[in-house]
């Protein structure tokens, strides 16, 4: 139950802050490439620094931060088909993010503000989730076997 409460509270806080600050993990890069505006990009930097600081701090305080930093334990994975899948998937997320005007987090925030365009985005998002469970996940098994 603690997982549900903790994620609900954290979600509420970042939802509130996201609405007030326009924080987005796609628009930051897009604004920088288009206009050299770094306001939103600083949000991405803030998340990285906050997470890094948190992992270092909580691992010293005895929190559950196993195998941190992970490269010291797992090493750098050699090139495999997984890297190719990450390449295609990563580029896909970036392109679709720009075309839709933001990351999934920003789209949820905008939908909560009452923007109907983002309601359609979320409709596609959750129907896409069913499609992933029924089709894409099995397709990926076949692709991984072929690669």
């Amino acid at each position: 139950m603690i997982v549900s409460i903790a994620t609900l509270v954290l979600g509420f806080v970042i939802g509130y802050l996201g609405q007030r600050s326009r924080l987005c993990f796609i628009s930051g890069y897009r604004d920088f490439f288009l206009t050299r505006n770094t306001t939103l990009l600083k949000g991405v930097g803030g998340a990285f620094l906050g997470a890094l600081g948190g992992y270092i701090l909580f691992s010293h305080l005895g929190g559950t931060i196993p195998e941190f930093p992970i490269f010291a334990h797992a090493g750098i994975a050699s090139f495999s088909s997984e890297w190719l899948i990450m390449l295609v998937g990563g580029i896909g997320v970036g392109v679709v993010g720009v075309l839709s005007g933001g990351c999934p987090y920003r789209m949820h925030v905008l939908a909560a503000e009452g923007r109907k365009s983002q309601w359609f985005y979320l409709l596609g998002f959750y129907i896409g989730l069913v499609f992933y469970n029924l089709v894409t996940i099995h397709l990926m098994v076949v692709i991984r076997t072929l690669l």
Binding site: G46, G50, Q118, L122, Y126
Partner: protein, 166 residues
């Protein structure tokens, strides 16, 4: 202190998000996998599949973090953003523009996101955790944004040129 007068910069919001995601992993059992404090692709998947599994016994997969109780990040984000918008008078129903385009983008985003097993937020968290695959995927997402930005700029220039000729 009036909550409405507090101004939040994206940097400050990002800092809280990063720190909060480390906190819920460290002390509130949002693990495994690691660096899973916030993910706006995997957490909706976990919640959706958890409900589907418990209601209809579908056996759609979800992370071990939500084995007993579901992760409710996505509900929290919507409630938090709704509260903030309502408190600041920004809660307005705006009509949809290009609904089919948004629908397709949402459809594609969740599929690409679940293929890499992360959203752009979790990629940042994974990179902070020291995962080189995360760093590589982060670079790929930025490359995708660059590609998308170029294509948008190209389409806009083409439209302007066509209007000028007409």
């Amino acid at each position: 202190m009036n909550l409405r007068q507090i101004k939040v910069s994206p940097f400050q919001a990002g800092l809280v998000l990063g720190l909060g995601s480390a906190l819920v992993q460290a002390y509130f059992k949002v693990i495994p996998p690691v660096a899973y404090g916030v993910c706006m692709v995997c957490h909706p998947r976990d919640l959706f599949n958890w409900i589907a599994d418990h209601l209809f016994n579908l056996h759609w997969g979800f992370s071990m973090a939500s084995t007993n109780w579901p992760v409710l990040t996505v509900i929290g984000v919507v409630l938090g953003a709704f509260t903030a918008a309502a408190l600041h008078g920004e809660l307005l129903i705006k009509p949809a523009q290009k609904p089919f385009s948004y629908f397709v983008n949402g459809f594609l985003m969740i599929n690409f996101g679940l293929i890499i097993g992360a959203c752009p937020i979790r990629i940042v968290l994974l990179s902070a955790y020291g995962d080189f695959t995360g760093v590589f995927t982060w670079v790929c997402i930025v490359a995708g944004v660059l590609l998308g930005t170029w294509s948008m700029r190209w389409i806009a220039r083409r439209q302007v040129a066509q209007e000028t000729v007409a």
